[in-house]
C-alpha cells in the first residue's frame, strides 16, 4: 500500500526523507506539499471552532518544524503522515492545556475573531455541509478524531491507533459508534 498522499510514480515518504537528509531541499517541499493539507484538515475538523485560519497554519507549521527537527527519531514504524498527525495532536493538546491556564479575556483577540468568522462563512456556505458539521461536532472528541482520520484521510485502523494512541480494536469501535451517531443525528 502506498503512503497516504502519494500518487503514481512519486517517490515514497522514506525516499524523500533520505533525500532531505542528503541535502535536497526539494524533498522537504515535496513532503510538506504532500501532507500539509491533511494536517490542516485534521486540525480544522477537530478543533476548528476554537482556531482561526492563522492558528491552523501556525499549528501545521509547528508540526513540520518539530517533525523535521527530530526526523532521526522517526523509525518508520508508522507512516510519515500518521507520525505527523500524532505530533500535531500532541501540540494541540499542549496548546489546549496552556489555554486553560490563561485568563479567558486574552483568548480571542479582535483580529483572530474576525478571521475565524471569515473562515466560518466559507465553511458554512452550504446547508447540507452545515448539518454534517453540526453532527460531527456532537461526537465525542475521540470519536471525531477517529472518524475524521478514517473518512477524510483514509487511514487504516492500525494507523489511526498509532496516531491517537489507542488500540486498533478501540479505533474500529469508535468509528462505528461515530457512524451510527451521525446517521441518527442527520435522520433526526
Amino acid at each position: 500500500m502506498s503512503d497516504p498522499g502519494q500518487h503514481g510514480d512519486e517517490p515514497s515518504d522514506p525516499e524523500l526523507i533520505s533525500r532531505w537528509k542528503a541535502g535536497d531541499q526539494r524533498a522537504a517541499a515535496a513532503l510538506v506539499g504532500r501532507h500539509a493539507d491533511a494536517l490542516a484538515r485534521f486540525a480544522a475538523s477537530n478543533w476548528g471552532a476554537g482556531l482561526s485560519h492563522a492558528d491552523i497554519e501556525e499549528l501545521v507549521q509547528d508540526t513540520f518544524v518539530r517533525a523535521f527537527g527530530s526526523l532521526d527519531g522517526f523509525r518508520g514504524e508508522s507512516s510519515f503522515r500518521t507520525w505527523l498527525i500524532s505530533i500535531e495532536r500532541r501540540l494541540m493538546l499542549d496548546r489546549r492545556r496552556a489555554e486553560r491556564r490563561r485568563p479567558r479575556e486574552s483568548e480571542i483577540t479582535d483580529d483572530a475573531a474576525a478571521t475565524e468568522f471569515d473562515a466560518l462563512d466559507d465553511l458554512l456556505a452550504r446547508e447540507a455541509a452545515a448539518r454534517v458539521r453540526d453532527a460531527m461536532s456532537q461526537l465525542t472528541p475521540t470519536q471525531r478524531e477517529v472518524f475524521v482520520l478514517r473518512v477524510n484521510e483514509g487511514l487504516s485502523y492500525r494507523e489511526i491507533a498509532q496516531a491517537v494512541d489507542t488500540t486498533e480494536g478501540a479505533a474500529r469501535v469508535h468509528y462505528h459508534n461515530a457512524m451510527r451517531a451521525i446517521k441518527e443525528l442527520l435522520d433526526a
Partner: protein, 170 residues
C-alpha cells in the same frame, strides 16, 4: 434504513473513498456496493462528510522556509541510538538487577542465621563425649551444679506459683 449486516464490507467503505486497499479488496467492495443499497447510502454519506469537512489551505512555501536544516546527529547520539547498544544496556541492567538481588538474599540469609544461632540446644550443654571421660572430682562438681540449677528452678517456680495458690486457698 437498516445497516448492512456485512461488517467487513462496511469497514472497507472509507477505503473505497481513498483507494487505499489492495486491488482485489477494492474490486470486491465495489461489487458489493453495487448490489447493496445500505452500503451505497453509507458510502454517499461518507462522501458528504468528506466534502463538508473544512479544508483550509496552508502556505506550504512559508512552512518549508521555516524548516530547520538537517543536522546529522553526533557520533555519540548515533551510537546511543544503535539497537545493539540498547540491547547491551538492557542486558547489563537486568544482569545487575539479578546480581544485586542475589547479594541481598545472601545478606538476609546471613542475618537470619545470626538471629537464630543463640538458642542453645540440649546437646550443646554436654561437657564431653562421655561421662567416663570425667574424673571423680569433675563428676562431683557437675552434680553440685545440677543440684543448684534444680534448686534455682524450684525456687523460681515457688515465687511464681505460690502467691496464686495462696490467694486461691485463702
Amino acid at each position: 434504513m437498516r445497516d448492512c449486516p456485512n461488517a467487513a464490507m462496511r469497514d472497507r467503505l472509507p477505503d473505497l473513498l481513498h483507494g487505499r486497499a489492495t486491488d482485489p479488496a477494492l474490486a470486491e467492495a465495489r461489487t458489493h456496493v453495487a448490489r447493496c443499497e445500505a452500503c451505497a447510502r453509507e458510502l454517499a454519506l461518507l462522501r458528504d462528510v468528506r466534502a463538508a469537512s473544512p479544508s483550509p489551505g496552508v502556505n506550504a512555501a512559508r512552512i518549508v522556509a521555516a524548516l530547520p536544516a538537517y543536522r546529522r546527529p553526533s557520533r555519540w547520539t548515533r551510537i546511543s541510538r544503535s539497537p545493539q547498544l540498547r540491547v547491551a544496556a538492557a542486558v547489563l541492567v537486568v544482569a545487575g538487577g539479578i546480581a544485586i538481588g542475589y547479594d541481598r538474599d545472601d545478606r538476609i540469609a546471613g542475618d537470619t542465621v545470626v538471629a537464630l544461632a543463640p538458642t542453645p540446644r540440649p546437646e550443646e550443654l554436654a561437657i564431653g563425649e562421655n561421662l567416663s571421660d570425667l574424673s571423680d572430682s569433675d563428676l562431683r562438681g557437675l552434680a553440685r551444679e545440677i543440684a543448684e540449677i534444680e534448686a534455682v528452678t524450684s525456687a523460681e517456680t515457688d515465687v511464681v506459683d505460690v502467691p496464686s495458690v495462696g490467694q486461691g486457698g485463702a
